[in-house]
């Protein structure tokens, strides 16, 4: 597993949208190579944390540092080579008028990287898409195929850290399994760090090493995935969430 370097460190993060404060004092340390989940229901602020790290939610106080470097409040070109995001809705995250090839080549063009055709084809095959998808438009692909393109796009710049915002929530069960397998394999092959936001606890069980449960903008518990699997979460809300997701609480 990764060394002692921290991939993402959040210290006392308070994020606001206009007048509302969405998160309160978020403090987390995610190691390099780790797969970490932020779990909670809607309104818990988990997606907002991801957006703040990415630079899409600029109003925050506290400290965010990724791979040792402190983050500014907006979007950073250099940062985009180190950290990318996978979005939830496969139907909204691809430009409807661009071919898959154009979508995947764009990050390379922005950063002046060459050999675009070869890289695009290599990435398509890495995410399990046949070459004939290369010049299709998004509406010609199914939800699962689109999500593969979204993952491919995020990996084009070879980041070390991936922020995943409910990557499989909008997918059918059978497709979800494929995408989860893909994510697991890619992480293993490329030594990626994942920060995954989800409300689906079994997905955390399959894909992650540790998790933090969020509620109303606060972290109520940080636990290892073993505790989740054995139903030994400490906090009362975590246990409630666990039970509602169909888990069986261990012991008492």
């Amino acid at each position: 597993m990764g060394g002692h370097m921290s991939a993402i460190t959040l210290t006392d993060l308070d994020i606001s949208y206009g007048d509302t404060q969405v998160t309160h004092g978020i403090t987390l340390d995610i190691a390099e190579g780790e797969s970490f989940a932020l779990v909670g229901e809607s309104g818990s602020g988990k997606s907002t944390v991801l957006r703040a790290i990415a630079g899409l939610a600029p109003e925050w106080t506290g400290r965010i540092s990724v791979l040792g470097k402190a983050r500014g409040h907006g979007i950073d070109r250099q940062f985009s080579r180190q950290c990318q995001m996978v979005f939830q809705d496969p139907y909204g995250s691809l430009h409807p008028r661009k071919t898959i090839d154009a979508i995947l080549s764009e990050p390379l063009t922005i950063h002046g990287l060459g050999n675009r055709g070869a890289r695009v084809e290599a990435m398509l095959s890495a995410v399990g898409l046949d070459r004939r998808f290369r010049f299709r438009f998004p509406h010609q692909l199914s939800g699962g195929q689109r999500q593969r393109v979204v993952i491919a796009r995020a990996l084009m710049l070879e980041p070390k850290v991936m922020l995943l915002d409910e990557p499989t929530s909008a997918l059918d069960v059978s497709v979800q399994a494929e995408i989860l397998n893909l994510l697991k394999r890619l992480r293993r092959e490329q030594g990626l760090t994942y920060l995954l936001v989800t409300h689906n606890l079994p997905v955390v069980s399959f894909l992650c090493d540790r998790l933090a449960v969020m509620r109303h903008g606060r972290i109520v518990e940080v636990a290892g995935v073993e505790q989740l699997k054995s139903g030994q979460l400490a906090d009362a809300y975590s246990r409630e969430l666990f039970a509602a997701s169909g888990g069986e609480i261990a012991g008492g």
Partner: protein
């Protein structure tokens, strides 16, 4: 704006009987639904048959399996261009196929109701909650104002909303998703139908609220002796809240079993679906993936 008097005399109600007796609540044989596409007519429901007594039936499938279309075709909500055919579509003694649009209006809401997925989209944003529930009631019955208010209040209490008078005055955007869905249920059950079709009633809700809403549906359905068709993509959910399960894939029913026997499902598709779901106590390195011969080449 609302019709206080039903358009046509409602057909006779099916007599209340336990599930599995002689006269089924719903009897569907060889239901087919097709739509025109640039490449010719495409069938999205390919000849399914089932019966329903006063019990809870779950219809499970992924997107494109035809489960929602099935629910809508029972209520004849499929617009022309789409074609619905069946050998038989009997609701008690009523032949649904033979009902005109006017006659169907007398049935919808009063005899068969439908709860849909997202209350954000199924509640009228410019009417208060109380007005909408009242409308559902007066569409089929003529009642005094005070009686309407009493029924609305009683219904809101039945769906476990704590402050019914206050909530009745709120607009849909002022209430949460879970509460909106409960309002939907209240609206659909206040005319006391015999059959409730719930199409993904909890998919848009948070996990902790899902259980509450399903408990309410379950409770009301069993106390009033209604039939329930629960359409969902979530196998576990359906196995917890239904008596029988139909698994649909590609427009056909591939499996029919008792909910308690879901784990012993025989059809490879069902087994594949069960295996593909990650478990809370997940130990597998990789999730088994469904063999998708229908999707070969895409």
């Amino acid at each position: 704006m609302t019709d206080a008097v039903p358009d046509a005399a409602p057909p006779p109600r099916p007599s209340p009987q336990g599930g599995g007796s002689e006269k089924a609540l719903l009897d569907i044989q060889n239901l087919r639904v097709s739509f025109p596409t640039p490449k010719g007519r495409v069938e999205v429901v390919k000849g399914i048959s089932f019966t329903l007594g006063r019990e809870r039936l779950g219809i499970v499938g992924e997107s494109g399996s035809g489960k929602s279309m099935t629910g809508r075709s029972i209520l004849k909500l499929i617009r022309p261009r789409g074609r619905v055919t069946a050998d038989r579509m009997m609701f008690g003694d009523t032949d649904l196929l033979a009902q005109s649009e006017r006659q169907m209006r007398a049935i919808r809401g009063a005899r068969i109701s439908m709860v849909m997925q997202d209350p954000k989209f199924s509640l009228n944003p410019v009417m208060t909650v109380g007005e909408q529930i009242a409308e559902a009631l007066v569409t089929h019955q003529k009642l005094q104002r005070s009686e309407i208010e009493a029924r609305v209040r009683a219904m809101l209490e039945a769906v476990r909303i704590n402050d019914p008078d206050r909530v009745a005055g709120l607009y849909p955007h002022e209430i949460s998703g879970g509460m909106g869905q409960r309002v939907m249920i209240a609206m659909m059950l206040i005319p006391e139908p015999d059959l409730l079709i719930a199409d993904e009633p909890t998919s848009a809700l948070d996990v902790s609220v899902q259980a509450q809403v399903l408990d309410i549906i379950d409770d009301l359905v069993t106390t009033k002796g209604m039939g329930l068709i629960l359409i969902s993509h979530d196998l576990n959910l359906v196995s917890r809240y239904c008596d029988r399960i139909l698994v649909m894939n590609g427009g056909q029913v591939v499996e029919e079993c008792k909910a308690s026997e879901l784990a012993q499902a025989k059809h490879p598709y069902t087994q594949g679906l069960l295996a593909a779901m990650p478990q809370m106590n997940e130990t597998r390195a990789e999730l088994p993936v469904l063999e998708r011969s229908q999707w070969a080449g895409t």
